[in-house]
């Protein structure tokens, strides 16, 4: 009789999880103990091991499927001698809850492969951290958004059984325990395994289950990075500590590699005179109505102006308000501007929707709200998904200018430097002005140099004459 392989519960409270990866294909023979798939929740990445021997007859939940209920049938195992095809066809009746996408009354109810995949890629996009970010709230913002994005968080992954001595040796040698294959009772990692690992043996591959970053998206070139042990060999053991990657770090690494490897970046820089903007900001803030405690109704930041200016500039240069897809260019109607927010150990990029339609005070209030709710782990996925561009501001660190990495699927990202007094030449005379440099990174597939220059020119005009934002 074919055996159903069910979505396992990684913890007593787990209700659903993501099917991160299949390590076996349909038709593969499996033996008890073979790792057949990786399951992720926001807290952990775990391996699903085969309990019985047989042939993987049918995979019912595709790789990347999210929010798969516990006990849903994810695959069917045909026993020896069974007709694999028949087993796959026959055994697809779910024992647990029906997947959300399927109609409960309609067996067999294998979830449609498209939907979960689409959901996965969307969530991935949503959770995508940005490389450089304006520090909207540099203090306490929590990595809530990433957790909510239902991506794996392996920082609290399933317990790795290891001896105390093994743990200490691994730490000293800079070996990530999750990469070590245990040889002790029930696979417990013991000291001798670490000794082996130091010599490069008994190590799981970098992209190993339960350990390393999620696999790169299909089609992305394999990263031919140096093997960990080779890197470690360059440093004397004991001269460094190894901090295991948490899920946000892994996603950052994965997505930025993806961005830099798949997006042809092109950079344009302008200097903007922000004297008028500063004056306007002062005036607007001073005029803010105060409540009975004397608290102003709003307090605009320079970044609020930057968001608004970029949103309007995209409306003026609509060809730059795009997203590259292989099938065709997505031309966006609204300016959804992501704003990179640095939070401890990571980033989150809430999106100010239709920013071109919003007043500065609304944008300002929205950003404050985003920051507060990020702290309270209350950002919803739709609040940090999508967008066609982003703003990354490192001005508060005194950074004069820098180039940001585009956050796919955006076509551009604007890196904003510090406003500072500089000597400028106007009408043949040296004058002092408050200048702010901004660098636009563009996806050259979608936004060519001239188009990018046009967008940046529009942005500069708005920043230098903020009154034009009122038009």
């Amino acid at each position: 009789m074919p055996t159903n392989i069910l979505m396992p519960a990684l913890s007593p409270t787990m209700e659903k999880g993501n099917l991160a990866r299949w390590l076996k294909k349909e038709g593969d023979k499996v033996s008890p103990g073979d790792v057949i798939a990786e399951i992720e929740t926001d807290k952990a990445t775990m391996e699903v091991e085969a309990i019985d021997e047989g042939v993987l007859a049918k995979i019912l939940v595709p790789e990347g499927a999210e929010d798969v209920p516990v006990n849903q049938v994810i695959a069917v195992l045909a026993q020896e001698g069974e007709d694999v095809a028949a087993a796959g066809a026959e055994a697809a009746k779910p024992r647990g809850e029906a997947p959300p996408a399927s109609k409960a009354a309609e067996p067999p109810s294998a979830p449609s492969p498209e939907r979960p995949s689409a959901a996965a890629s969307e969530a991935e996009r949503a959770a995508a951290p940005r490389a450089e970010l304006p520090q909207v709230d540099r203090h306490e913002a929590a990595p809530a958004a990433v957790a909510e994005a239902a991506r794996p968080a392996a920082d609290d992954r399933g317990r790795i059984f290891s001896s105390p001595l093994a743990r200490r040796l691994a730490k000293e040698a800079g070996i990530d325990l999750s990469r070590v294959q245990g040889s002790g009772p029930h696979g417990r990692i013991v000291a001798r395994d670490i000794e082996q690992a130091k010599a490069g043996r008994r190590l799981k591959p970098v992209a190993a289950p339960a350990a390393a970053a999620p696999p790169p998206p299909a089609g992305a070139p394999a990263v031919a990075a140096l093997a960990d042990e080779k890197i470690r060999a360059l440093y004397e053991p004991g001269t460094y500590d190894v901090v295991p990657h948490d899920s946000m770090r892994k996603i950052i690494a994965q997505r930025l590699v993806q961005a830099k490897q798949t997006i042809p970046h092109f950079y344009l820089t302008v200097d903007c005179n922000i004297d008028k903007l500063l004056a306007a900001r002062e005036e607007i803030n001073a005029a803010a109505p105060k409540d009975k405690d004397g608290k102003p109704a709003y307090k605009l930041t320079i970044n609020d102006f930057v968001i608004k200016a970029l949103a309007l500039a995209l409306q003026q240069v609509p060809d730059a308000n795009v997203t590259w897809t292989e099938g065709g260019m997505l031309k966006h109607k609204h300016s959804d501007v992501g704003v990179a927010v640095s939070i401890p150990n990571g980033l989150i990029t809430p999106v100010v929707r239709r920013a071109e339609t919003k007043s500065l005070s609304v944008i300002s209030a929205e950003m404050k709200d985003y920051a507060a709710r990020a702290r309270a782990r209350k950002l919803k996925p739709e609040e940090y998904q999508g967008g066609s561009t982003a703003v990354s501001n490192l001005g508060m660190y005194g950074i004069r200018e820098f180039a940001a990495v585009i956050n796919p699927p955006h076509a551009t990202i604007l890196a904003v430097g510090a406003g500072e007094q500089r000597a400028i030449v106007r009408n043949g005379k040296i004058e002092v002005a408050t200048m702010m440099s901004a660098t636009l990174s563009t996806d050259h597939r979608a936004v060519d140099g001239a188009l990018g220059a046009q967008l940046l020119g529009a942005f500069k005009a708005l920043i230098e004459n903020p009154v034009m934002m009122l038009v």
């Binding site: 001896s163 001595l165 093994a166 000293e172 002790g184």
Partner: protein, 477 residues
């Protein structure tokens, strides 16, 4: 006609052999065990167990003699050597009978006689003719030819004989005679200060014999940590035992009812020691002979069978465990080796034994127990180490027991915090050492030991204190 074909035949029913037989039976093997003298072998009948019974008598006698220390009155305290021996034999018999029961319970066939491996897979058993009285268990199979795919040699060891020091059973004893002596000699010369030597020295000294120990190496209890051995030596000397280390017996003159020994001491001076009896306790050698091993080409080195970590000899189908397979010659090592052996035959992929984690216990007074590397061995291994010590005088329970002479010593790897060794001398330390054995097997570091709560008041608190001491945190001293 009884069945003569088995999956596994084990030759020798000592602790290694009989435990291996039970495990083999548990794993579903049709198993037989060959014995020629007593089920349980030396350990049960002539070693570990009967000596513990003797030493218990000595211990109680000693308590009675010191009853006043505890506010008690014990008058006319005496002993009957024959009764002490009788009790010891009774204990051995009870355990040996228990093994007969265990064999029946596990459907292990017992074959009685002398075994020889005629060829791989073939065991020829002949009637045994021996001066030792044998206890043939009910239902044992007799001599004949037997077959088994797997033959495990577990024939143990016997006392080593040094030239000039040949035991005669009358004046010069091995542990066999020392264990059943009907008298307590007025004076006793013990040659060799390993576990067997010092246990008999303790026993006979407690019952009043003038005991002299001669040890060829610079320290008594040569396998133990030097500091622990020195501590024990002081205690033995306090009890009135004379000890010569770096000394050897060069001549033995046998008189009618005594022996005159010439001993060359550390300074090279010849001493004359007259003693009523001599115990030769200069180690044991493996029983590798008369098994047909040479003819089969089984590799033997230094008197023991050469095996791999799964007890396999160089000849397929022939295995060896326990004393006959090399040191340390300890019952618990033999048992573990046997279990690994049959589990490997079964294909269970057992882990090979880590010989550095085999504890050793000596039941002299005070007791000695140890596991892992001595301080000297740890240093020799090139490690930087941390050593912690705690004396029993800082332990409430020890003082309450009237047993305040003891020392616990622990050796840690300085770099990793790995517990490399633990060494103990004092009351009941043989029961305490297991705590450290488990700790070492689980690869704990000092951190887990320090985080572990030891019950108060117990002698075991000395263990934690020693660990604390290694890290500069000792509390009660």
């Amino acid at each position: 006609m009884a069945d003569t074909t088995f999956d596994v035949i084990i030759i020798g029913s000592g602790p290694g052999g009989y435990v291996t037989a039970i495990r083999a039976a548990q794993l579903g093997f049709k198993t037989a065990i060959v014995e020629r003298a007593h089920l349980g072998g030396i350990c049960t009948n002539w070693g570990c167990i009967p000596t513990k019974a003797l030493l218990r008598s000595a211990e109680i006698f000693d308590y009675l003699e010191h009853a006043g220390d505890y506010g008690l009155v014990a008058e006319k305290v005496g002993f009957d050597p024959a009764a002490v021996v009788k009790r010891s034999r009774g204990v051995a018999k009870r355990l040996s009978d228990g093994i007969a029961f265990l064999m029946r319970k596990n459907n292990v066939s017992v074959i009685w006689g002398d075994a020889r491996i005629a060829a791989p897979g073939k065991v020829a058993v002949k009637p045994h003719d021996d001066r030792l009285k044998t206890d043939v268990p009910k239902g044992a199979l007799g001599p004949g030819n037997y077959q088994a795919k797997h033959i495990i040699v577990a024939t143990g060891a016997r006392p080593r004989v040094l030239p000039g020091l040949e035991p005669d059973g009358k004046l010069i004893w091995t542990y066999f005679e020392a264990m059943v002596a009907p008298i307590i000699p007025k004076s006793l010369l013990v040659v060799g200060s390993g576990a067997i030597g010092v246990e008999f020295a303790s026993f006979y000294r407690t019952f009043g014999a003038e005991v002299t120990i001669v040890e060829v190496l610079p320290q008594i209890l040569p396998a133990e940590d030097a500091e622990i051995a020195a501590f024990a030596r002081k205690q033995f000397e306090k009890q009135g035992i004379t000890i010569h280390t770096s000394a050897k017996v060069t001549k033995l003159d046998r008189k009618a009812d005594s022996v005159v020994a010439t001993v060359e001491n550390a300074a090279g001076k010849a001493l004359t020691i007259e003693a009523e009896r001599v115990i030769s306790a200069v180690g044991v050698v493996g029983n590798v002979e008369n098994l047909g091993l040479e003819a089969l080409g089984v590799k033997i080195e230094r008197g023991t069978i050469v095996t791999d970590p799964f007890a396999r000899t160089n000849v397929p189908g022939i295995y060896a465990i326990g004393d006959v397979a090399g040191p340390p010659m300890l019952a618990h090592k033999a048992e573990h080796e046997g279990i690994i052996c049959v589990e490997a035959i079964k294909g269970l992929n057992p882990h090979p034994m880590n010989k550095t984690l085999i504890p050793g216990c000596t039941y002299c007074r005070p007791q000695i127990a140890s596991v892992g590397l001595t301080e000297a061995e740890a240093k020799e291994s090139g490690r930087e180490i941390r050593v912690g010590r705690f004396p029993f005088i800082g332990n409430g329970k020890a003082i309450a027991l009237g047993e305040d002479q003891g020392l616990v010593k622990v050796v840690f790897d300085k770099a990793t915090g790995q517990l490399l060794g633990a060494h103990m001398v004092g009351a009941e330390v043989t029961e305490l050492i297991q705590g450290f054995v488990i700790a070492m097997n689980l690869e704990t570091t000092e951190e887990e030991l320090i985080h572990s709560i030891f019950p108060h008041p117990t002698l075991s608190e000395t263990m934690k204190e020693a660990v604390l001491d290694a890290y500069g945190r000792v509390l009660n001293i």
